[in-house]
């Protein structure tokens, strides 16, 4: 197993030609990636505003739904229904006048003839 040794900087290639070539290469890579990024950003520039608009619309619709739910509940509340019913001349079942009487001597209708046969109806589809 070889031990790590401190680099020997005297052996380092510090010639201008080598570093120039490296700088050109890295710069070219950097520019290419930067162009790629800017291009991607340019191509998707409408995504973010559309997303934001959709989120705002969703929030608006949620609020609207909640408000409508509450409005329906308040419009169909017991107190409102009661007020409406009384305003339209209705009265409580238990409080309405009740009378009792006996049926007179009218003849009862004849009893139905009991069925002795079983009828089966089949429908084909």
């Amino acid at each position: 197993m070889s031990r790590w040794r401190f680099p020997d900087f005297s052996q380092l290639d510090v010639s201008v030609a080598t570093w120039r070539a490296r700088a050109v290469r890295y710069l070219a890579i950097y520019i290419a990636l930067a162009l790629l990024l800017v291009g991607a950003r340019a191509m998707t520039q409408d995504v973010r505003p559309a997303l934001r608009a959709a989120q705002e619309r969703e929030a608006q619709l949620t609020t609207l739904r909640d408000e409508l739910e509450l409005r329906v509940q308040s419009l169909t509340g017991s107190a409102r229904v009661r007020d409406w019913a009384f305003a339209n001349g209705m009265r409580r079942f238990a409080g309405s006048p009740t009378t009792t009487g006996r049926f007179g001597s009218e003849k009862l209708p004849p009893p139905l003839k009991p069925r002795t046969t079983l009828e089966v109806k089949t429908e084909w589809k």
Partner: protein, 455 residues
Amino acid sequence: MEVKIQKRSRWMQAVALLLFMTLVWAYAQLEWGVPQGVKRSVVQSRGPILARDGTVLARSVGGERVYPQGTLAGQVLGMMGATEGLEGLEAAYNRSLEAGQPLRLTLDPATQSAAEAALARYVPEHEAQYGSVVVLETRTGRILAAASYPPFDPNKWRVYSPETRRNRPFLDVYEPGSTVKALVVAAALNEGLTTPNTVYDTPMRRYVGDRWGSTIGDSVQHPKRLTTREILRYSSNVGMTHIVEHFEPERMRGYLLAYGFGDYPELPTVASSTGRLQPLRNWNDLVRATNAFGQGMSSTTLQLAAAYNVLANDGRYVAPRLVEGEPAGERRDVLNPATARTVRIMLKEVVQEAIPTQAGLKGYDLAGKTGTSQVSLGAQGYSRSLYDSTFAGIVSYPSDTPRVTIAVMAHGAKRGYHGSQLAAPIYRDIASDLLSRWGAAPTPPPPEAQDAAKP
């Protein structure tokens, strides 16, 4: 040498790429704000308050607290300030509501609105100052309605006075008056001190107590001798002094305590009053006699309803409940079931014979007792012009199957302040509403009554 240079070049390329990626990440932070997963904002909306059937009573919409039912149970709900509950359930259950937990109440919106509508009809008609109603589900002690008048809309709470915001059925303390007679008669029957048909001499006035005693009088004209059931029928104070004459003060006070008077109802978190029973050391003949007809003691409408629920519930006290899911309070046996049933029959007779139009509904099993009490002014004695009108009763359907217990109070009526004139019709209207919603068919009168009614 050349190999070494190539390796170092690769390293430098990797480092440059890493640096570039940090640049991309920083740009994305500014432009998109996407990689902020850790910082995701959590909007904690306040939990809703729901009625028993799921009706929304309070809810947060668009950052605001909304009470869609308006004045329905307004005083019970209370209201919310900028960030937290200020009064009522909003304040009492602030912590759990803040955590987003819904609060489901035992209140039934239809019963609550029936109670509020009845108060709104009769309290102004009699020029009374305020009123309250409690409706309990007999078997469970669930509070189906806790209504106050004048009404209060929590959506606009700033325009209302603190008196209007007051949850009166739980907080207002007053002398319940003659409604207590039925409870004391039940206790005396339970102790074997009287029977429904025991006869007492009942002059219109009677001096009770020794040196520090006082003259007790009756306001309703009645025969000179009354049975126990007639004492309830004529609401005779003098008769009540006879019934409790041999009642040990400790025992009688014990019964009143067992009915729930003089103690907090077991409603966790919710603000309520205790009312007052005099300490035992103060009990003498006069205190015993006045307590027998509901003066010299005090209670809330909730306590009065819970006490009458003992009669409805075959002698068992069931602690009232307002919030679903909370542990049920104490249940205790106060009376024998047979005693409770006997008193229910006596109360039914009170409605049928004494106040059939004010508190009764033809063909239905309604039972109850009125009360009219002068308002205590403390050291100045009792007011001669200020009265509390009360009624406590039971609604049964089918016959003799109690389903709800109702207590009514109206304070300071200027016209028709008697319990039979003001509180009883409120009870009748609520009972009518409930029976109609149950689709309860009236019971036809017995054949002999039908024959007697024929010309």
